[in-house]
């Protein structure tokens, strides 16, 4: 082999569509969100832990959860936030800032989640600040990512 090798790179694109079942418990959460703009969680009948997101069994006790439902939030505490400076991330998440939030009535360490932050002045973002959801008012489909547009600081 005296000829200089040419290292070729051949492109490929994977484009797939999936459909995921919510099940009974997460389904109820999404139905409440979609139809009533209410955020709900269920509870473990054994240890009493609020299960958010709602699910069929308590991961600590490994028993089937009770059918006791509680309303959580909609106000939340901001635990951490960051600016999406990494190329492509802001476009993918349709936001410049994301935050880790804990809804009132949930145990932060076990139930916090990430969502978009809607702020006029990012300089005012502080860990521990109180926030509330901005609901999508048209065509909610049952999905926390879409039916809540983001969280904004509670004024005053």
């Amino acid at each position: 082999m005296t000829e200089k090798a040419e290292f070729m790179r051949l492109p490929a694109t994977v484009n797939l569509e999936y459909k995921y079942s919510t099940g009974r418990y997460l389904g109820r959460f999404y139905k409440e969100l979609r139809d009533n703009k209410r955020l709900v969680a269920n509870k473990c009948g054994k240890c009493g832990r609020v299960l958010f997101p709602p699910r069929i069994a308590c991961p600590d006790c490994m028993v089937r959860a009770s059918d006791e439902w509680v309303e959580v939030g909609p106000q939340a505490t901001l635990i951490f936030f960051y600016e999406l400076q990494i190329p492509g991330l802001a476009e993918r998440h349709a936001a410049n800032y994301l935050g880790v939030l804990a809804l009132d009535g949930t145990e932060a360490e076990l139930s916090c989640f990430e969502h978009r932050l809607m702020v006029d002045d990012p300089g005012k973002l502080r860990e521990g600040m109180r926030m509330e959801p901005v609901f999508n008012e048209e065509g909610r489909t049952g999905r926390i990512r879409d039916d809540i547009l983001g969280f904004k600081p509670i004024e005053g």
């Binding site: 991961p59 989640f113 990430e114 969502h115």
Partner: protein, 385 residues
Amino acid sequence: MAGRAAIVGVGQTYHRSKRPDVNQIEMINEAVRAALEDAQLTPKEIDCVLFGNMEQAEGSYLMDCWATEGTGAYLKEGCKVHTGGTTGASVAEAAAHHAASGLFDTVLAVTYEKQDETPAGMGPLALVQDYLWAIHTGAFGWFARMGRKYMLETGCQEEHAAITRLKSDRCACKNPHAHLRLNLTMQDVLNSRMLLYPLRLLYMCPTTAGACALVFASEERAPKITKKPVWVKDWETVHYEMVGYEAYFTSRMTSMETAANRIYHRNGITNVRRDIQCAEIYEPSTWSELQFSEWFHFCEKGEAWRMAEKGVSDLEGEFPINPSGGVVCTNPIGCTAMVRVAEAALQIRGDAGEHQVTRDVKRAVATGFGGSFWTEMLLLQRSWD
């Protein structure tokens, strides 16, 4: 486990950002040939082949089947093990299980990632999420938060992260297999691009193409294959619930503390830096090296940055951490945790070459870290007792 297992062969590629000169299977084969040569074994003498990579990272399922020609698994027993970031350690632990079980005399463990072929962070890592639930950005947020919390709680300044990063670079520059060998200065580190305060580009692990292979043998076979078997004395796997927000909180016991406590307790390790001589930990960012060192009890709480400042974790130090340069210098994801095991084994054998630590390493730990804060920890020893 009634039986014992030892590592009798170590092989890895020269990790680089791009390997256009080989395809995936050829790159895997480089590591396999290196491990077989190190063990002085032929493919026929391997009973079982275990394989792993970051699921879907290269866009294909069943890579254990596609890669048979590269791994040498043709007509042999074996399977694929994949656990995300911890895959390399999981495959090593599974191989130790297989060799110690008495069912197989020799087990080949193979892992790889060819990140130059994937859309890297924007591709496979974007798939690490629960589609039913909220937005999930993963690693960058975690490690930035970890750094910020660490600074607030311990008094650590950014320069201590920079000192730690320079230590990694000095080690990597002595390790020809390492990917990023940059001869950095303090200014280079402090001027590198801020991804997310206080996480700079140089504090984050790179995207690497590379493969690693280890040969494990049973108690009877190991001493016949090599004069320097590295015994896999103990191992531990600890999972965490759901998405793992350990980076944001500290009140719950972390998976890392749990793994370390169990390993140390079972093996009578009471003074970690005395009883263990070297650690190869999976530190996905420089900030993680500081935080994880405390969770693994390499020092007291809040002391890791002082340890770095005093040079304790240097190659020549009292307790070398990641003498290979670690994950911030080399990160072929599904293979990364196996490189930790491989490098720890080389330190025990005394075969690490220029990055061999000053201290005589009779015992070392290697760890894996993965999504949702899984932890794996292996205890390796020069002699069983």
